[in-house]
């Protein structure tokens, strides 16, 4: 008869525990590396995405004298070329635009009725007056922007007498002046400002109202173009 040592259950469980710890360590290492890569790509997108804007102002209803007729309108077409050098897919979620036209009659003293509401831009010794012509509610374009690519977001804003009679009257006055003094209704300078919000795909927005500000905004990229006149 031969006595044998019993199989050591502690050693067996210990081996299993070490194997489990090893597996968990590998999984956690992979999760940490993936988290680091994810976080880095978000920061790259936050820092490197940029917007190349272009604005076109077009009038309809210009008569032979160059004046804007009562049934005319002005349309500002904003074209935002969004360049995305990051590895993240983006979406343009919100575009806010405001456009001011230089109030040349007010500057020259020919029509001072809008001076109180105009925005004065002081440049050295001279002052320029701007009338806020278009500032609609934000638009939600939802255009996709591919990773390591670019995409155009085009938004058009129109204004006529029906949509905003006081502003249209000011526009008529300013374009009349521009047509008669500068030779073209479109000659009056504009100041464009836009704020473009882009969301980073795959980054869930923070759901907790008590979350830190760095978490609340991290899924959004905000890019401002132009100067907001106040």
């Amino acid at each position: 008869m031969k006595w044998l040592r019993p199989a050591d259950p502690v050693a067996r469980v210990e081996r299993a525990a070490w194997a489990f710890l090893g597996a968990i360590a590998v999984v956690l290492l992979l999760l940490s590396i993936a988290s680091s890569a994810n976080y880095t790509s978000i920061v790259v997108a936050q820092e490197n995405v940029y917007v190349v804007p272009s604005f076109r102002v077009a009038f309809t209803g210009i008569d032979s004298n160059g004046s804007l007729e009562a049934d005319g309108s002005v349309t500002v077409t904003a074209d935002f070329d969004i360049v995305n050098p990051s590895d993240r897919f983006l979406h343009a979620t919100q575009v806010t635009y405001c456009g001011w036209i230089e109030d040349l009659p007010a500057e020259t003293g020919l029509n001072t009725s809008r001076v109180a509401s105009d925005v004065v831009l002081v440049q050295g010794a001279s002052s320029r007056y701007f009338f806020r012509m278009i500032c609609p509610p934000p638009s939600m374009p939802r255009n996709p922007i591919p990773a390591r690519g670019n995409a155009s977001v085009v938004v058009a804003y129109s204004m006529d007498r029906r949509s905003d009679p006081p502003s249209f009257a000011a526009l008529q006055n300013i374009t009349d002046y521009a047509a008669h003094v500068l030779g073209s209704a479109t000659a009056a300078p504009w100041n464009h400002w836009a704020l473009v919000f882009l969301s980073i795909d795959g980054v869930p927005p923070a759901t907790s109202p008590t979350a830190g500000s760095y978490i609340l905004k991290i899924h959004l990229i905000a890019r401002q173009v132009g100067t907001y006149l106040v």
């Binding site: 008869m1 031969k2 006595w3 044998l4 040592r5 019993p6 050591d8 259950p9 502690v10 469980v13 210990e14 525990a17 070490w18 489990f20 710890l21 968990i24 360590a25 956690l28 290492l29 999760l31 940490s32 993936a34 988290s35 680091s36 890569a37 994810n38 976080y39 880095t40 978000i42 920061v43 790259v44 820092e47 490197n48 795959g202 980054v203 869930p204 927005p205 923070a206 759901t207 907790s208 979350a211 830190g212 760095y214 978490i215 991290i218 899924h219």
Partner: protein, 136 residues
């Protein structure tokens, strides 16, 4: 030391997940406290089991603190390694400051889970020694 590094990895990853839940993998709008508790407990029990005694367990729990801070700090400054972003000191301060509760929770869970693992080991030893030897 290996167990301390392992517990540090768990605590560091947990702190980073708690501070930046929507940038971690898996990502979420809000850090799941349940996920953190389960992760910390499930890892601390086997770590306690393979620890041979209470003294070693206590030492490895306290040794895991610098490891956890190092892991969370490296994760939070990771964009700087490819030349993006700046202010490493601010990022490290943020993750330690905002993740302080998780570091404390990890310590607490390591002690609790480690004790459970150790007691399981003791019971197994007692049961094995009480069992009569098998005859072949």
């Amino acid at each position: 030391m290996a167990l301390a590094a392992f517990l540090g990895l768990v605590a560091g990853y947990s702190a980073f997940y708690a501070v930046y839940p929507n940038m971690t993998v898996p990502s979420a709008g809000e850090a799941s406290f349940g996920y953190l508790l389960i992760l910390l407990f499930v890892t601390s029990v086997p770590a306690g089991f393979v620890t041979s005694n209470v003294q070693d367990g206590v030492v490895q729990v306290f040794l895991s603190i610098p490891f956890s801070i190092a892991v969370a700090s490296v994760l939070s400054v990771s964009p700087i390694f490819i030349g993006v972003g700046a202010q490493a000191d601010v990022l490290v301060y943020d993750v330690i400051h905002n993740g302080f509760f998780i570091f404390l929770l990890a310590l607490f869970m390591d002690v609790i889970g480690g004790s459970v693992g150790l007691s399981f080991r003791e019971r197994l030893i007692v049961r094995a020694s009480a069992r009569p030897p098998r005859v072949r």
